[in-house]
């Protein structure tokens, strides 16, 4: 959690950015850091947490993730409205923004699905939720790797690796082939 925040804090690019743009950068970095712990929380992978408590935190973290996404996009919107409009309408010249928008929709659909989860069969819910988590992870990693941003290449590689490992573990648990 602290890693991306420190990496972004050290970026020379911050000197040339307005506070609202800096806030958007931090929100993005924090949201990505949450993607590392988020898949570990409900599966008893975090030391010292019971499964019940882990799931409780998982829900809270999910809400924080949605809030960070809103701050990230809202901050970018205030900084440069036409660039964000282009990205959201998928007509941006920058490929990384398409991955970012993919991840954004992943988060929005996940939140909506979570609100209606009682209407879903447990298996449908679980597969959908984890499938969306994979989409969010993939979208976020490409979004970040393709950007010349504030996190720096080493920070991006380490965080991306952690997101892929943590999400991959959760996906494997739910989607692995089982004997009949």
């Amino acid at each position: 959690m602290l890693g991306p925040v420190l990496a972004i804090s050290a970026s020379p690019l911050l000197a040339y950015r307005q506070p609202v743009y800096i806030l958007a950068s931090f929100a993005g970095g924090i949201a990505m850091a949450l993607l590392v712990i988020q898949p570990l929380l409900p599966n008893n992978d975090m030391p010292g947490l019971t499964r019940r408590f882990g799931r409780m935190i998982h829900r809270g973290t999910g809400a924080v993730l949605v809030a960070m996404l809103a701050v990230h996009i809202g901050g970018l919107w205030i900084t440069s409205p036409p660039d964000v409009v282009d990205a959201l309408l998928l007509r941006s010249p920058t490929p990384f923004s398409i991955w970012g928008v993919l991840a954004m929709w992943g988060v929005i659909v996940t939140a909506a699905l979570a609100a209606w989860r009682r209407k879903l069969k447990p298996k449908t819910w679980q597969r959908g939720h984890v499938g969306l988590a994979a989409l969010i992870a993939v979208g976020t990693v490409f979004h970040v790797i393709l950007i010349d941003g504030t996190m720096g290449n080493v920070g991006k590689a380490v965080l991306s690796g952690a997101v892929v490992l943590a999400t991959g573990l959760a996906v494997w648990r739910v989607w692995r082939p089982r004997r009949a």
Binding site: Y21, S80, D83, T94, I147
Partner: protein, 162 residues
């Protein structure tokens, strides 16, 4: 699982192809026998402020935006054409009025405008240039710096008579 991988690879390849097309689009008109007009780039007009003043240089300088302006068809250099430039630099954001300036082409159709160092913003270090006068059709460009540390960028305009 292999299905997922191939989809991902296809998407990356597509993204790469789009990026490559964007770059070669600048060079391709040179090879054509009659010189084709430069098309406006996606996102080129973002944060445009019409009527940027003609300036000696933008801010403290340190970065050189250079280029040429020619006529579509015969490729004749165009003198006295106004090119407007803006970017996210060490001295300001794209939307700040002081990040905008304009210059005129010389008798060889070339322009040079000194401006503050361009820094990466919205994912990539890039500049914005516009030709927006009545004589030729409007063109908005959004070229990328090949390397974020570059201290100069050369941009070619080929204009279609309006």
């Amino acid at each position: 699982m292999s299905g997922v991988n191939s989809t991902r690879r296809t998407l990356i390849a597509t993204a790469g192809a789009i990026a490559a097309t964007g770059v070669s689009g600048l060079i391709a008109p040179l090879a054509a026998q009659t010189i084709a007009a430069t098309p406006t780039m996606r996102g080129g007009s973002n944060n445009y402020r019409p009527g940027a003043p003609i300036v000696e240089r933008i801010g403290g300088g340190g970065f050189w935006m250079t280029g040429s302006v020619r006529r579509a068809g015969d490729g004749a250099p165009l003198t006295g054409q106004r090119i407007q430039v803006w970017a996210h630099t060490t001295e300001g954001h794209e939307r700040d009025p002081h990040s905008h300036g304009a210059t005129l082409t010389d008798e060889n159709g070339l322009f040079r405008l000194e401006m503050p160092q361009i820094v990466p913003a919205f994912g990539q270090a890039h500049g914005h240039l516009a030709y927006d006068d009545p004589e030729f059709e409007t063109v908005f460009l959004r070229p990328l710096l090949p390397d974020p540390g570059d201290t100069t960028l050369n941009v070619e305009f080929v204009l279609q008579p309006a």
